[in-house]
């Protein structure tokens, strides 16, 4: 049944040869269609239709080198030459998926990774026929379980939903009907798809919930009474109610915090092995995928640029893009931590590519890259790069080492022993011009252009003379919320709505922050880590003067947050500013970048006209948005997530603050963009002497930009100390859990 020349089959060997057993997650092991076994047991597990159907017997792979290594086993799903376009009214056609060939075996788990906008979701939807206009499959076909799905009408398609494919969406957990109990959701699905009702349905539902490790009592709850992780489990159980052969998970854990994310992924892997369905896990997080899937596909600009065994990909990526993605992960407990980033962003898919679409961001490109690279079979996988399999070394954007002396300004000081975050391991307060900031417009128009970074440093120093830098000191800070409703109401960027005690204690008070003391010294960076609901954001908001503590004191020099009148707040905000989590919600869609930053300059620094304009341009250059003239006229929707976050940071800097509170500033960004933002924060701290409270649940970034770490659990500080030592030798069990939840890559 080989539809491709024998040499491919031979060259490729059986995928899984000798690797299957060692694949991380080991999910393919028991029962159905074990991917690790030799392919000769066609349709293992006796899946009907897979072998019997004569029609698509030969997986035709077009354009020969674009094929994938052949297997003798009949795949559950395969696609060939798949092209998907979006044809929105009044906008250019977007070619989101181009010429993709792929196949998924029964019972195997495949990961699909890539930055957002690379076409992952589009591909996932195309495979399951979930595409809605303006999307359209323009070429190629998808064969599922022996049937050409591309040709099925809606009626036949509906029957495929049962015992066919199911899809779990990231937004799925927010799509549960708020006025129906979980029981109601199951009743609907079971009635329409499996004709099971009443008590029988309830029993099936309880069983399904058991699969995803939820108690039967969940059935009587409403969606809003469940935490994000629980809701996502419910959605998975609902998908399983259809008894699917293939489940597509689109970013199943992206909105969840690390601990929950790990737990949900483990559940998926376990279920997949036990129940035996095939799974396609779509994620922008390579670490997550490599930790669970048997095989991984890396997608870039609508093509699959590399497909390998997960372990092989983690060990030695062959495509520069995969290597760069991989470099965005790291082990925060290592001696020397480096973080790579990928400058630039995925290409505009409405423009036909000229040669390799990764070329504009590739540090290895050569003249030959002007031609479209063919997909080449290497070992058990394929790679679409001219230079493969050359050895790849990825440039690093940010790094931290345990040795203070070699780590520049980011070393870890030794003299911090007490519970408060005090230490000094920093370089000089006002360093010279930062690397990113040079030759901008001068202080006043008409004057000779002075090196801009220097001007910044000079003015910075002047402002520091005006207001002597002082520590932000918190003492026994407590924040209580009265009811669950109130705390849930201003969830802001809270991904997981789960507060300690919500759902259990409905009427009583919740202590979101429970007696925290700390001191943020000028020029220092303190990290605040913890799962969602641990009180990080609440603490950050109080420190930024957005909320008042229920008791305790927050002082910055003579300013006291707990007693401040609202008309004095602007004075506080001249010295303390906040960088918000969600770059999409933090900027008003109707205002230009120039307006947003300009208003802050006007209000806080009282600048007008030319002075305002030159300061605006300088700030844009400081945050790396050049040419500044162009950026100041842009509206938020014209910017990428990373660029927006830079604008948010520039706006915060417009007040010339002494303290920046950054609440998960990179959690909504693609991993590839994180390094850039983190480096910016780090440089700002070194060049301008601003001190930083960095809130995150990502220990890696905390390691890179902070020198002191506080671990928060249920509103209390359970551990604190120099970042590297806390991470390398955690003493509290909760800290250990957090560290264990990090997906291990390579």
């Amino acid at each position: 049944m080989a539809g491709t020349p024998g040499e491919l089959g031979a060259a490729g060997g059986r995928r899984g040869d000798g690797v299957g057993g060692s694949a991380p997650g080991g999910s393919g092991a028991p029962g159905v269609g074990a991917p690790g076994t030799d392919g000769t047991s066609s349709g293992s597990g006796g899946r009907d239709g897979a072998v019997a159907d004569p029609q698509p017997a030969a997986p035709v792979v077009e354009g020969e080198p674009g094929g994938h290594p052949q297997r003798t086993q009949q795949p559950l799903l395969f696609a060939s030459g798949l092209d998907v376009v979006y044809e929105p009214a009044g906008a250019p056609v977007v070619h989101a998926v181009r010429g993709v060939d792929l196949s998924i075996d029964p019972g195997e788990m495949v990961g699909l990774v890539g930055e957002s906008g690379c076409g992952k979701s589009t591909l996932g939807y195309a495979l399951t026929r979930l595409l809605r206009p303006p999307a359209r499959i323009t070429a190629g076909r998808v064969v599922f379980d022996g049937r050409d799905v591309t040709a099925l009408d809606q009626g036949r398609l509906r029957t495929m939903r049962h015992r066919g494919f199911a899809v779990v969406l990231q937004s799925g957990m927010n799509a549960l009907n708020p006025v129906r109990t979980i029981d109601g959701h199951f009743a609907d699905v079971l009635r329409t798809h499996r004709r099971v009702r009443g008590a029988a349905a309830r029993q099936v539902a309880e069983e399904l919930l058991g699969h995803v490790e939820l108690a039967p009592t969940v059935l009587d709850r409403f969606p809003h009474e469940l935490s994000g992780g629980m809701r996502q489990r419910v959605v998975i159980a609902l998908a399983l109610a259809l008894q699917p052969k293939l489940v597509v998970f689109d970013e199943p854990t992206t909105a969840l915090d690390v601990l929950v994310q790990r737990a949900v992924m483990d559940t998926i892997a376990r279920l997949q092995a036990e129940v035996g369905f095939s799974a396609l896990v779509i994620s922008h997080d390579l670490g997550l995928v490599l930790g669970t899937a048997d095989r991984a596909w890396v997608m870039y600009a609508g093509r699959i640029v590399e497909r390998r065994e997960s372990a092989a990909l983690a060990g030695a990526p062959l495509h520069p893009y995969s290597a760069a993605l991989l470099a965005c992960h790291g082990d925060p407990t290592a001696d020397n931590v480096q973080l790579g980033g990928i400058p630039g962003s995925p290409p505009d898919l409405s423009v036909p590519p000229q040669g390799c679409s990764f070329a504009p961001r590739c540090w290895m490109k050569e003249p030959v890259c002007r031609n479209d690279p063919p997909e080449r079979v290497i070992g058990t996988g394929t790679v679409a790069c001219h230079l493969a399999p050359r050895k790849l070394v990825v440039p690093r954007a940010l790094e931290a080492t345990v040795l203070a002396s070699t780590a520049g300004g980011m070393g870890v000081g030794q003299n911090s022993t007490d519970g408060t975050a005090t230490y000094d391991g920093r370089a000089a307060l006002s360093a010279g011009p930062g690397p990113g900031a040079s030759d901008g417009p001068a202080l006043s128009p008409g004057a000779a252009a002075a090196p801009d970074g220097a001007a910044w440093a000079v003015r910075r120093r002047r402002s520091l003379e005006r207001v002597e830098p002082e520590a932000l000191v918190l003492q026994d800070v407590v924040k209580q919320f009265r009811t669950a409703r109130r705390t849930g109401g201003r969830a802001g960027g809270r991904a997981d709505g789960a507060w300690p005690g919500v759902g259990r204690a409905r009427s009583s008070t919740v202590r979101a922050v429970d007696g925290v003391s700390l001191s943020l010294e000028p020029g220092h960076a303190v990290g605040l880590v913890g799962a969602s609901g641990s009180g990080k954001t609440t603490l950050g908001r109080m420190m930024a003067g957005m909320d008042r503590p229920s008791s305790g004191t927050i002082r910055l020099g003579g300013l006291r947050v707990e007693t401040m009148r609202s008309r004095d707040l602007p004075r506080y905000w001249q010295r303390v500013q906040m960088v918000f989590q969600d770059p999409y919600a933090g900027l008003n869609p109707v205002h230009t970048v120039g307006y947003a930053i300009g208003r802050a300059l006007r209000n806080h620094q009282r600048l007008r006209d030319d002075r305002l304009r030159s300061e605006l341009h300088r700030l844009l250059e400081v945050v790396g948005l050049t040419p500044s003239g162009q950026f100041s006229a842009k509206l938020p929707h014209q910017l990428s997530g990373g660029q927006r976050q830079r604008v948010v940071i520039a706006r915060a800097l417009a007040a010339k603050p002494q303290v920046l509170v950054a609440d998960e500033p990179v959690s909504m960004l693609d991993v590839s963009l994180r390094a850039g933002i983190l480096r910016l924060l780090d440089e700002l701290r070194r060049d301008t002497g601003v001190s930083l409270l960095y809130i995150t649940h990502d220990l890696l970034s905390a390691r890179l930009v902070t020198d002191h770490l506080l671990v928060l659990q249920k509103g209390r500080v359970v551990e604190s100390g120099p970042t590297a030592s806390v991470l390398r030798s955690p003493s509290h069990s909760y800290t250990k859990q957090l560290i264990e939840a990090i997906p291990v890559v390579a």
Binding site: R490, A544, G586, V590, V648
Partner: protein, 283 residues
Amino acid sequence: MWRTGRKLVGTLWADRKARAGASILALFVLVAVLAPVLSPYSPTATSFARSAPASWSHPLGTTGSGQDALSQLLFGTRVSLLVGFGAGLAATSLAMLVGVVAGYVRGPLEVVLGFLTNLFLVIPGVPLMIVLAAYLPSRGVGTVLVVVSVTGWAWGARVLRAQTTTLASREFVAAARMAGEGTWRIVWHEIVPNMVSLLAASFFAASTAAVLAEAALEFLGLGNPATISWGTMLFWAENSNALLTGQWALLVAPGLCIALLASAMSLVNFGIDAIGNPKLRER
């Protein structure tokens, strides 16, 4: 504000229904402006045969008091549009003021405004309108306009209030506060520009209601019967038993115009809905 407004118009034009509605509206506006040019006679001239049937010189016939019905119909467009747009504007302004303030401020003012809105929502509009119209001293177009505005703002206020509350909790509002912006600045420059499509929707909804209400008031004889409008045409046609004399055009023509104008406004509103509702808009 100006920019989003322009974008709104652009997107609207791309929507088939909205384009149809806007074209019809534009036609009505043109007729209203050019009424003196288009009309064959003065609408108030009573020098023709009374209750004459349709003819070449009077395509819609004449009224019971000997006026040319076509000329009346053309001039009547002015009153309908004036009351429609005028009351729409007034009601929307009131709705915006009450809704946005109630949605943004905390404390007693919020409670009072909320109460006021709910009060006007529960009082049935038509009886209130009739009572107001019956007791107000003057009965000109201005009165009708005031009555229709006063009874028509509450729904919009509630919608705008809800939207303001959501927008006020968005991070960009918190960011604007931290950037040192004052309350009014935040309301007018951060929140309101994000409600342009909602404001436009309430405007067209209020205008549609106003057109219908105006016609109803005039038809019931609660307006000034000397005004020339579609409502008064209906009123006089009914009074002179136009149907019995076979002059159905006197009832049908203004009735059709009212229905057409109201539908045109609703069509434009469909388009605005599609913009405001992401489910209908794709992504």
